[in-house]
């Protein structure tokens, strides 16, 4: 994975010093809150319901054991002993003090991390496939380009005061695990007929109040033109994105209002006037970065791992966990280990400092010192020998990290919601916990097969409920929390926005409603047909009838 050189190190140290100075000026009264707010947001510091919240960047969801250990230290020293992994592959701390923040940023800089641009109307963390560099279906690892874009977008002088936030996602596999179609810019790596690598450039996807699927503006952009072309898109957005209404300020609204064709024409005109120059520099930098993402020194192993097979045979719990939580690795004898941060009745995506340290140790010992954060709020150890998996699992069990529900109904994605967030209209975590308890028996979850349940505590959709197979949106009706259910969303390469099923439910009614939906699916599915496919075949009607049938 990427390692800082002296330039990168100097950059984060200077940025930290800059923020220290800004915070001091704020506390002295030399800056008003209106003036300070964009500055602190561009260093990841929010003011939330209970305290300041700091969102730390985990670029394209990749980190080392040492970095994870530092995140644990920060949780213990400056927060309340835990952190929350987010739907954009970052981590959040909920109980931060402004007066400590510069010290925290320095602690991050010390391990080649930062909180730069994790909030604010600027380009945010570039997210990607949490199985990058490991998945069998991958064409090429997208993370070198992710790192290139990270650097290019960091403290970009022209694009730091955009109409609104800007999110970029990239994928290097045909099965899109990065939700590129619901990002402001989505980039999909693919090859042309001659086998050259290029990028499909998609613009204007997003969730929130007005969910939209991105449109393609270029089918095949050569890699060397990426930075130049991104500049053209950003310039068009910066100039023409709406600034009169916060809820209509994303690039998706601009694309929708002027139309995809006109938008594309504006971008192409801008790009033609200011095309990518001296692209050898970008390509030299990309080549330099790519060296850090060379494949680890995998051993030559057999696909058959006898110790692993024996362990499955003799330990039913392990067999269950292995069946649900392992994903196929490109290299024989290895597996991708998915650690679910969704224990039964737990808070989705939260991990204690101690759990972070355990995962750091496991990464160093078993996964070439690399971890990933997925936008489903789970942690991945990407390169584990099958023969090591049983030992690793036993340590996960000791640390309460062995929930065998990866990708199943218990693997719920939920934003922090009204328990933490100043923007929320309803709580999301208790709903997740109630659903999780209802399906506590993993056998029941397995009977439902893979299904993505996403919960958002407000219309800003940080829980990504629009692209949940089952989406739950928490709203406020006359001071009471109530929940709307959507079905059929997907963040894959066949992306779709979920449809609202009908009137909302009180909190205590939601778990039964989910059960009704899942049981309806089981009743009507074809052999081997997963939930999303069945919904797309059947449509909402049978689910509506089951949910709203008059008794």
């Amino acid at each position: 994975m990427y390692r800082y050189d002296e330039f990168d190190a100097k950059f984060v140290n200077e940025r930290t010093a800059q923020f220290r100075d800004q915070a001091a000026r704020r506390l002295k009264g030399d800056l008003t809150e209106d003036e300070f707010r964009p500055l602190r947001l561009m260093n990841g510091l929010y003011l939330q319901l209970h305290a300041y919240m700091l969102r730390v960047a985990i670029p394209y969801g990749t980190l080392s054991g040492k970095q994870m250990r530092q995140l644990a230290m920060i949780a213990d020293k400056w927060d309340k002993g835990y952190g929350h992994f987010t739907t954009r592959q970052n981590i959040q701390y909920n109980w931060i003090k402004l007066e400590d923040t510069a010290d925290i940023l320095q602690a991050l800089a010390d391990v080649e991390m930062h909180a730069i641009q994790t909030s604010g109307n600027c380009i945010r963390n570039v997210t990607t496939d949490h199985w990058a560099g490991a998945a069998a279906d991958e064409l090429a690892d997208p993370r070198p380009v992710g790192e290139l874009i990270r650097q290019w977008s960091s403290l970009h002088p022209e694009f730091s005061y955009l109409p609104r936030k800007f999110k970029i996602a990239i994928t290097g596999a045909p099965n899109d695990r990065a939700a590129v179609k619901v990002h402001d810019i989505g980039l999909r790596l693919h090859k042309n007929a001659s086998g050259e690598i290029g990028w499909e450039v998609m613009v204007g996807g997003g969730q929130g109040r007005t969910p939209m699927i991105a449109v393609t503006v270029r089918d095949f952009l050569p890699e060397k033109e990426l930075i130049g072309y991104l500049e053209a898109i950003m310039r068009v957005y910066n100039l023409f994105g709406r600034r009169d209404n916060k809820y209509k300020a994303r690039i998706k609204i601009l694309v929708h209002e002027i139309g995809a064709e006109k938008f594309k024409a504006e971008v192409e005109a801008e790009y033609a006037k200011h095309p990518a120059q001296q692209t050898q520099v970008e390509m030299a930098e990309l080549a330099r970065i790519a060296k850090y993402f060379a494949a680890p020194k995998f051993e030559k192993l057999s696909r058959f791992a006898p110790h692993f097979e024996d362990a499955k045979r003799s330990n039913g719990d392990f067999a269950r966990w292995a069946r649900n939580n392992l994903a196929a690795h490109a290299v024989d004898g290895y597996a991708i280990v998915n650690i679910s941060l969704k224990p039964e009745g737990g808070i989705p995506g939260d991990a204690t400092g101690e759990q972070m340290r355990v995962m750091a140790d496991l990464a160093e010992r078993y996964s070439f010192d690399e971890l990933r954060v997925s936008h489903a709020q789970n942690i991945v150890l990407p390169h584990v020998k099958l023969e090591d998996v049983f030992d690793l699992w036993q340590m996960l069990v000791k640390a309460d990290l062995a929930a065998a529900n990866y990708g199943l109904a218990g693997d719920i994605i939920a934003c922090p919601g009204l328990d933490y967030c100043a923007l929320a209209t309803a709580r999301s975590i208790p709903v997740a916990q109630a659903i999780s308890r209802k399906f506590a028996d993993v056998k029941i979850q397995e009977s439902y097969g893979p299904v993505k349940i996403n919960i958002s505590g407000c219309i800003n959709a940080c829980g990504h409920h629009h692209v949940g197979h089952i989406g739950i949106l928490g709203l406020d009706k006359k001071g009471e929390e109530f929940y709307q259910i959507t079905l059929g969303g997907s963040s894959s390469e066949n992306a779709s926005i979920g449809t609202i099923l009908g009137p909302g439910f009180a909190a205590h009614e939601v778990p039964d409603a989910i059960e009704t939906i899942l049981n309806t699916y089981v009743k009507l599915r074809n052999a081997g047909e997963e939930f999303l496919a069945a919904y797309r075949r059947l449509g909402p009607k049978p689910f509506k009838e089951a949910l709203y049938a008059t008794a």
């Binding site: 319901l49 209970h50 402004l98 808070i347 328990d419 709580r427 975590i429 208790p430 205590h508």
Partner: protein
């Protein structure tokens, strides 16, 4: 017979550490909701806004706002669940926030 009064409480975050605080009758900011002054009339609420604005300028607090609350026999409870959570702490972590620090006031648990 209980005395029930309805009014508004002024809350903010202390600038330097982000702690949630409430404006008291004496014009200081307390971490405890029960110390807060309950503005029973619009004039009193407006006076709280003036006081809070001054404390924003002096960099003591940030983000002040009024919220509806009810006082029963001297104990204050926020009317809306959002402020009840703000007053108590996360409903999903009863070991965190004011509810764990003993500053939550008389009404302890947020209903599920």
């Amino acid at each position: 017979m209980s005395t029930v009064e309805k009014g508004q409480v002024m809350t903010a975050n202390r600038l330097r550490d982000g702690d949630v605080v409430f404006l008291t009758r004496a014009g200081a900011w307390s971490e405890k909701i029960d110390d807060a002054v309950l503005a029973l009339e619009p004039q009193a609420a407006a006076a709280l806004e003036v006081r809070a604005a001054a404390d924003v300028t002096s960099t003591l607090v940030t983000g002040p706002y009024l919220f509806d609350a009810t006082r029963v026999d001297g104990k204050i409870r926020a009317d809306h669940i959002r402020e009840r959570i703000r007053t108590l702490g996360p409903s999903v972590r009863l070991d965190l926030g004011k509810q764990a620090e003993g500053t939550a006031g008389a009404f302890q648990a947020v209903e599920v």
